[in-house]
Amino acid sequence: MSRLDDLFEALADLADARGESKATSIRQPAALHRAAQVATELGMDESLTAATNRALAERIRAFARQQALVAHLRRFPEDRPQLAAVASRRVRGTGHPAARHPELVEAAAQWIEDREPDWIFVNADETIDQVLRYVEMVTAGVGIPRTATA
């Protein structure tokens, strides 16, 4: 079993809430520790421990997801999806403007793919979000001078 599979096994245990808790000590910048304490007091999370665990789990899940995709596409390169297709799929069934403007999704995806052909190996999620943010900005009229009305 590879180390990546070890990671997924640990994540499966995490999802099932199996396993013991383990006391650990980590060094944090003092300012980050203080900020986390204050944010917890303000209601960000139920405790500093919960906040730390949640953030760490989210980061590991995102990392594992990206690594799994990369491993799969290295074995099956023909499965690589098109950026425009995944961006359109992410908004299907939502009210996001990209769902109504496939031509803008196509244009933005093409522009990004030309600049970063390896987008799926670098950070697929972030790249999809970039496409969607672009479409959102264009449809909101950002950067388009408003014409004066009489």
Binding site: S2, L4, D5, F8, L11, A12, A15, A64, Q67, A68, L69, A71, H72, L73, R75, F76, E78, D79, R80, P81, A85, V86, A87, R89, R90, V91, R92, G93, T94, G95, H96, P97, I120, A124, D125, I128, L132, E136, A140
Partner: protein, 142 residues
């Protein structure tokens, strides 16, 4: 500005089988990988689907599929009751279809703006089930 989109994914039997395929150029597997890439939330396989698809987590051949869809949704007492309820509403739906619909409802949770995509070869029954489910479900035919 639109909020952060959250898209979950539930795999039905044929999607699970496609993901287990090691055949070069498998078009259905590529379609499932596209769905997995598009989903930025949870990717879940109901345990009944795993049984039907013959997906044993410990089989060495399942390693790649396990990584892309590592989360199971077990059919516990509450889920079984809900599946029975849904099958009474859509009698043509299979047991597995009903558990897929229950999983979709379960993972949507309380996030009212989340969409749950279901990848299936049985779009008709899943769409009928989706109308009775308390979640925004996007049924994609494989």
């Amino acid at each position: 500005m639109a909020g952060k989109l959250l898209r979950h994914l539930v795999l039905d039997n044929e999607a699970a089988q496609a993901l287990l395929s090691t055949r070069a150029g498998d078009r259905k597997r590529a379609a499932v990988v596209e769905a997995i890439t598009a989903a930025n939330g949870r990717t879940v396989v109901p345990t009944a689907v795993r049984v039907e698809a013959g997906w044993r987590r410990r089989d060495p051949g399942a390693a790649y599929a396990n990584r892309l869809a590592h989360e199971d949704d077990p059919l516990d007492r509450a889920h079984a009751d809900r599946a029975v309820q849904l099958r009474r509403l859509v009698p043509t739906a299979s047991v597995v279809d009903a558990t897929v619909a229950v999983t979709a409802e379960h993972i949507a949770g309380c996030a009212s703006d989340a969409v749950v995509e279901v990848v299936t070869s049985d779009a008709g029954d899943l769409r009928a089930l989706a109308t009775h489910v308390d979640a925004a479900v996007d049924v994609a035919a494989l």
